[in-house]
Symmetry: C2
Subunit: 540 residues, 2 copies
Amino acid sequence: MLARQLLVGAGSSLRRYSNFSRGAMAASTMQAIRAGEENVRQQLAQINEEVQKLLALKEQLKQLTVEEDGSGEAVPAKPVATSEPTSGNRNLSLKTPKGTRDYGPEAMALRQRVLDQVISVFRKHGAETIDTPVFELKEVLTGKYGEDSKLIYDLKDQGGEILALRYDLTVPFARYVGMGNVFNIKRYHIAKVYRRDNPQITRGRYREFYQCDFDIAGTYDPMLPDAECVKVVCEILSEVGVGEFVVKLNHRKLLDGMFEACGVPADKFRTACSSVDKLDKTPWDEVRREMVEEKGLAEETVDRIGEYVTLNGGAELVDRLAADEKLKGIRGAMEGLEDMRLLLQYCEIFQVANRVSFDLSLARGLDYYTGVIYEAVLLGGGGGKDEEEITVGSVAGGGRYDNLVGMFNPKRKQVPCVGVSIGVERLFSIIEARAGGKTRTNETEVYVASAHKGLHLKRLEILNKLWEAGVKAEHSYKLNPKLLAQLQHCEEYQIPYAIILGDGELSRGVVKLREIATRKEEEVALDTFIEELRRRLSVA
Amino acid sequence: MLARQLLVGAGSSLRRYSNFSRGAMAASTMQAIRAGEENVRQQLAQINEEVQKLLALKEQLKQLTVEEDGSGEAVPAKPVATSEPTSGNRNLSLKTPKGTRDYGPEAMALRQRVLDQVISVFRKHGAETIDTPVFELKEVLTGKYGEDSKLIYDLKDQGGEILALRYDLTVPFARYVGMGNVFNIKRYHIAKVYRRDNPQITRGRYREFYQCDFDIAGTYDPMLPDAECVKVVCEILSEVGVGEFVVKLNHRKLLDGMFEACGVPADKFRTACSSVDKLDKTPWDEVRREMVEEKGLAEETVDRIGEYVTLNGGAELVDRLAADEKLKGIRGAMEGLEDMRLLLQYCEIFQVANRVSFDLSLARGLDYYTGVIYEAVLLGGGGGKDEEEITVGSVAGGGRYDNLVGMFNPKRKQVPCVGVSIGVERLFSIIEARAGGKTRTNETEVYVASAHKGLHLKRLEILNKLWEAGVKAEHSYKLNPKLLAQLQHCEEYQIPYAIILGDGELSRGVVKLREIATRKEEEVALDTFIEELRRRLSVA
C-alpha cells in the first residue's frame, strides 16, 4: 500500500505537470523521477508481500492489545514510574495534541460572551453567516499562503481525495464565492483554523484557534465597504473593551508605488514588503540591514524607503504625499492616495478618525491584498496582570483582495472583496486575564432542594412544573442529598434561587424560596411559586 | 521515513504488549513479527536512500507546479472540455471534499435556529458547555468504535504526533473527564464530527456533520440522571416540532441477561446484540436466519430470543419479565429490570410516559454502553414532501456508559456517565424540507436609501447615528444607487424598514420612513427618527 501510494502520487503530479511549458530543468527533473520510480517500483514490489504479511501480524497484535485495553479492568493500571522504562506505555497518552487544548466550562462561558459581542456587531452591519468544511481539497489551499504553506495540516491519503485542514477562512470564502457564482455577499464566519506553527502557548497562540471574519464581496464604489470594515473593527474593540487601540491604514498600491519611486526593481516589491512588515517589531536599522545585505537593495534605495516608512498621520499626509515629486508620476501611488483620501473622509463621518492612523510602515504579510490594508493594535493598558505581554501586537487586520475569487471561478470572473479578521483569541486572553472572580458557567435560575430524606419524587414533580413553565431548573441527582451540600452547590454555581422542600411546608401547601446571595428565605404557596419566581427573575 | 514510521510503530506496540500476560498465541505472533521486521528492516534500509532521493525530486517538481498554479494569471484558464483529455487539470477542482458541503446563508439561518432551540433545552437543564480539539491523538480513538474504526479520518504524519479527526463527541468527553480528574459535570457539546462513510447525501448523511451531545457524569443515585436525559430528548423533539415520536428504552444488563436465559454463550452476547440491533430495519425472519446461519446460534436459542424481542410496553412489561421463570435467576437481568422500573416511574412524573416505550428489540450498536439505552424514532407525518424518506429512523439516542472514563484516567478511576446525542442533522433536514418561503438570513432593521444622486455622505452620517444607537442598519455600497434597486433589496432580504433620504425632505429637517411590507411611507423628523424607529421595532 505504501508503494502504491507513492507511485500514484507521483503519477498525478506528472500528469498535472504535462499541461505546463516544459523548461529544461523541469524536464530533467521528470526524467530523473521516472528513472528513480522505476527502480524503486521494482524493489518495492519485491518487499511488498513481506510488508503485507507484517502489517497483518501487527493488526493481529493490535487486536489483542485493544481487547485488553478496552476492558479497563482485566489489567490493573501500573504506576507510571517504575524501574522498567517501558511500563508507562501501558497507559494511553493523556493529553490533547500539541498546540491544542480543551476548553472547560469557565473558559467557554467567557469565550462565548466575547463571540456574542463580536457577532452582534457583525449583525448590526447586516451580515449573514455561512459555513464551509473544516478541510478542503489540498489544491484549493496550495499557493495561497507563500512560505507559510508548510504549516498546513494535511490529511492522510486513505484512498480518496487529497485533503488538508483549512488554514484561514478567507481562501474557503473565496472558493465559496467563486464556485457558487455569488456576486455579492456580506458574510461573517466564525470557525476554527489550523496551523502547524510552533505554539507559543504563553502568548495565547495555539495550533487550533478561532478566526472571526467579516467580508464584503461585490462590485461597489470605492472605499464604501472598506470604510465599513474599519468601522466594524472599531466598534468591536470598543464593545469588547480592551482599552485604547489604533487602526493603522495603508494601501498596497501606494506601497508598490513607493517602492518604485525609491528604485526597488518590480520583482523585489514583495520581498521589500515583507521587510517593511517587520517594522512593528524590529527597529529600522535592522530592517535596513536586511534590505541591503539579504535582499540586495541599493543603500540609497533603502534610505529613501526609510524616509517614507516613518511617516504616519491623517488627511494632511495624503496631501503631502500627493504633492511628493517622486510619487507624482506613479499612477498606482496616486490611485492608492485617492483611495486613502476617501477612506479617511468616510472614517471622519463614521467618527473613528481619532482611532485610525495612515501609516506607511504597515505592509501585512499575505500576498493576496490588492488595495487598502489595515491592522488594529492595542496601545497598552488593556490587560490584567500580564499586561505587558498580552497587549502587544495586532488584534485585528484585513484589507482588500480583488483577485482571489477569480482563481476559484470556472470562468475566472473576479468578485472584488474586502474584509477583516478579528484576532479573537487575543481578545479572549485579555478578557480572561482581566476577569476577576468566577465566571458563571450555566444559566440555572432555580435549584430544587430537599430539606430532609424521602423527598426525591416531590422534587421531580416540582422540577417538571418548572421545566414545563420554561424555568431553568436543576436538582441533585442523589436521592437524599444533604441540605448544606445543595446550598453550597447553588453558591458555587451562582444559581440565584433555591426552592427548599420540607414535609412541614408541603403539608401547609407552601415551599421555602431562598435567595442565594442574601440567604433570605420566604414561604411561597405551591400553586403560585412559579409566578413569584418569574417576577423576581424578571426584576433582577 | 516510511521505513522509520513502520518500525517505530511496531516497536511501541511490542513494548506496550510486553506488560501483558503472554499467551501462547500472542507470543508466537510477536516472534513472527520480530522476524518479519528484521527482514523488512534490512530491505527497507537498502531502498531508503533511493526513496529519499525520489521524494526530494518529487518535492522539487511540486514546487515548480505550485508556483505556476499560484499565480492565477501566468497561464490562461482552458475550457474544461477539449480534445485533450488532460487539459482540465489546469483548473482547480471546484468542489468541496466528498461528503461535505458549504452552508449558505439560508441553510445557516435555519440550522442556527434549530441549534438555538436545542441549546436552550440543554441550558434549561443546567448544562454547561465545553470544547475539545477537532483532532485527538489517534490512540485515544483506537479500540472505541469496533469495526467502524476504519471510518476514522487520519491526519498525515508530518513528523509529529499521530492524529485523527474526532469520530464522535463521547470519547473526547470521556478523555476530558478522565484526564482532568473531573468527578461530576453536566455538559453539552455541539460540534462537528468526521466519518469516512459512504455519504448518503439524499438522506442528509454527510462525512462532516454536527453532533449535539448532553451528558451527565458523576456518581449519583440510579436513574435520576438517566430519566432527565429522556426528558431532554422529549423536550427537544417537541420544541423543534418534528411531529409524533417515541423514545424506545432498554437496558444492556437486561439484554445480556436475556441472551443468557436463552442459552447464548457469553462470548456471543455482543454479536447477538448487533443482530438484534437490526430489527428496526430488518424483519425477524431475516435476523433469525443471520443468528442461526452466520452467528452459529442454536435454533431453539434464537427462537427464545425471538419471543423476547417482540415485547414492548410499559411498567406492566417490567412486572411480567420480573416474574419470568428464565430471567428470575439471572442477577444482571433483575438489576436491569429494577432500573427500568425506576426509569418508567420517573418518566411518569416527568409526564413523558406517553412518549416512551420499553422495547426489548432496542440494542444500539456501540460497545461502551453498560446500562439504560434509548433511541427516539419519528412516527411519520413529520416531514414535508419527502416525508416518507426523511422521517424514517432515529433522531436521538444514547445511554449509560460507566466504564469509559476510567480508560482515560491515570489511576483508572471510573466516573459513571449517561448521555444523549441529538441527531440534529436529521432535524435540520426535516425542518428544511418543511420550511416554506424564504428564511431571513440577516437581522437588519433598517436600510438607509437615497432617493436621488449625491446623498452618500448624508447616508453615512445617518447610518453612523443608527449604529451608535445600536440599531441594525445597512445601505447600498454604491454612491448613487437606484431607489427601486434599494427597495427591492429590502424586500428580498425582508428588512422591515427603510429610511429614504431626499434633498427636499432634508431641507425641511425630515426623512421618509417606509414600512417595507405595507409600502406605507411617513415623514419623521431627523432628530427623532431613531426613537420612532425603536418604538416601531419594539412593537413588532
